[in-house]
């Protein structure tokens, strides 16, 4: 499998702290790759650089065979790279249903007019039902609970047609039963050809779902491999899993 995403020698400093320290890794096309590591190891910073929210001090990023010189979240999204956030980012003033429809469309006329077509609506409602949000479809999204916002953001990503999806702690604050629904959707989309890069602390989910698993510590990669190998790697046990 070829690399859909290639990160090479990326460095990012904040003041005196080097958050990402010469980090290199690849995400193979068609994989569900996990990016794990202790709190503060640079996972989210790496995500922010890959998705254009932060500018790296040095290093290169290649997506879909092309070097991205000046990445911006919008241009990357159009190129097929979408993401979720630890603190779910939704449109609080739009309804739950509108949030979903907006994610499925690049048509600005439709966005501005908020014309929800019957087809979009039907597709969105099926997704909402699975995440137990269907009865809330007319509610202002800002009125959802923390966990419901995470579910809505995840559902929104499913509505777009990305090549690569970056999920930043998708299950944090989400009920275990809904985690299984998320897992089902990731598997289905992956089967349909979508590649995933997942930051996640739920190790059972990572071990079930992801291959390979990449481990960051202090801003650089310390291990990579199949879940079983990573799980028993002494360096990973020490830095991340604890004994």
């Amino acid at each position: 499998m070829s690399a859909l995403l290639k990160i090479e020698n990326v460095v990012k400093r904040f003041g005196g702290i080097t958050a990402v320290n010469g980090c290199s890794f690849e995400v193979a096309e068609g994989s569900v790759t996990a990016l794990i590591g202790p709190n503060g190891s640079g996972k989210t910073t790496a995500f922010n650089i890959i998705t254009g929210y932060l500018k790296a001090d040095s290093g290169t990023i290649e997506f879909d065979g092309k070097k991205i010189a000046k990445p911006t979240p919008a241009s990357l999204y159009r190129a097929g790279l979408s993401r979720t956030f630890q603190q779910a980012r939704i449109f609080p003033e739009l309804t739950v249903l509108e949030n979903l429809v907006i994610s499925s469309s690049f048509d600005w006329k439709q966005l501005l007019g908020l014309r929800v077509t019957a087809a979009d609506r039907a597709r969105a409602m099926i997704t909402l039902e699975e995440f137990r949000l269907d009865k809330l479809h007319d509610l202002r999204a800002g009125d959802l609970s923390y966990g419901q916002r995470k579910l809505l953001e995840f559902a929104s990503v499913l509505m777009s047609n990305p090549k690569l999806v970056l999920l930043d702690e998708p299950t944090a604050g989400v009920n275990p039963v809904m985690i299984e629904t998320m897992e089902k959707h990731i598997r289905a989309r992956n089967k349909a050809g979508v590649t995933f890069l997942v930051v996640e602390h739920d190790m059972q989910l990572v071990m079930r779902l992801c291959d390979p698993v990449i481990v960051l510590d202090h801003g650089s990669k310390i291990a990579e491999g199949v879940p079983e190998a990573v799980q028993s790697n002494p360096q990973v046990l020490e830095a991340y899993l604890g004994s």
Partner: protein
């Protein structure tokens, strides 16, 4: 007959945001020294229960007794004086202040510096990160690191009742163990803890009692271990795969 006063008693509590009701008659009793874990689907009202106890949200009906005293009419500030602290789910540190300054903000109602330093030392014992990152801006800490400082900060008022809204959210496995161990240590120290957790299995495992909230009502209560072993609870709330 001797009368027994529970530390906290919620009776028929109704509450909500705007016109709708999120809590539709919640009954819950917490005894002194207990760890009680509230679990339930996203949007069932778990965070709202905590808010009605700390006073961040007023109730529309019912009563909230703390040590036998009705507190539902009191301001949050007054409830702090009584020993009730609340660590909310959303990030609540002041990002532009250092970790130490944030800890000091947690003690804003205290004037005796000796007491402040004593409590700081005690909180540091449970959460070493407070000392390790003392001079760092809170906003520069990772999500999981911030969560630990938030829980540590709640100890500055030497609370008798600690309300923890998903203390393990965003924490790596090592830190998560540390947080659940520290919750047990807090209870041994004579404090009472009411926590909301989506890491339901870990939450119930450290708890003396569990309560399942479903659609704004307590659907079920029981010993933490009993709920863990109940196949119906597992199917509906804990997930079949998470073991």
């Amino acid at each position: 007959m001797t009368s027994h006063t529970s530390l906290l008693t919620l009776t028929d509590v109704t509450a909500g945001y705007g016109a709708g009701l999120v809590l539709k008659g919640v009954n819950l009793t917490v005894e002194k020294g207990q760890i009680v874990c509230v679990i339930g689907p996203n949007g069932s009202g778990k965070s709202t229960v905590l808010k009605t106890i700390s006073g961040l949200l007023g109730i529309k009906g019912g009563s909230v007794l703390f040590n036998g005293e009705e507190i539902s009419g009191m301001t949050s500030r007054r409830r702090l004086d009584l020993g009730i602290v609340h660590v909310p789910q959303d990030r609540s540190l002041f990002p532009g202040m250092t970790v130490r300054e944030n800890m000091m903000m947690g003690a804003f109602i205290l004037t005796d510096h000796k007491i402040i330093e004593e409590r700081m030392a005690k909180a540091t014992e449970l959460y070493p990160i407070v000392k390790e990152r003392s001079g760092a801006l809170a906003g520069s800490l990772s999500g999981g690191e911030q969560k630990q400082v938030e829980v540590a900060r709640s100890l500055m008022l030497d609370p008798s009742l600690i309300l923890l809204d998903e203390p393990s959210i965003g924490l790596d496995p090592k830190s998560r163990k540390l947080v659940f161990e520290s919750i047990k240590a807090l209870a041994k120290d004579g404090r009472t803890i009411l926590l909301v957790e989506q890491n339901a299995r870990s939450g119930l495992a450290v708890s003396s009692m569990g309560a399942v909230l479903e659609a704004g009502k307590v659907a079920l209560t029981g010993k933490g271990s009993e709920l863990l072993d109940d196949p119906e609870v597992a199917r509906l709330y804990l997930g079949a795969k998470a073991k």
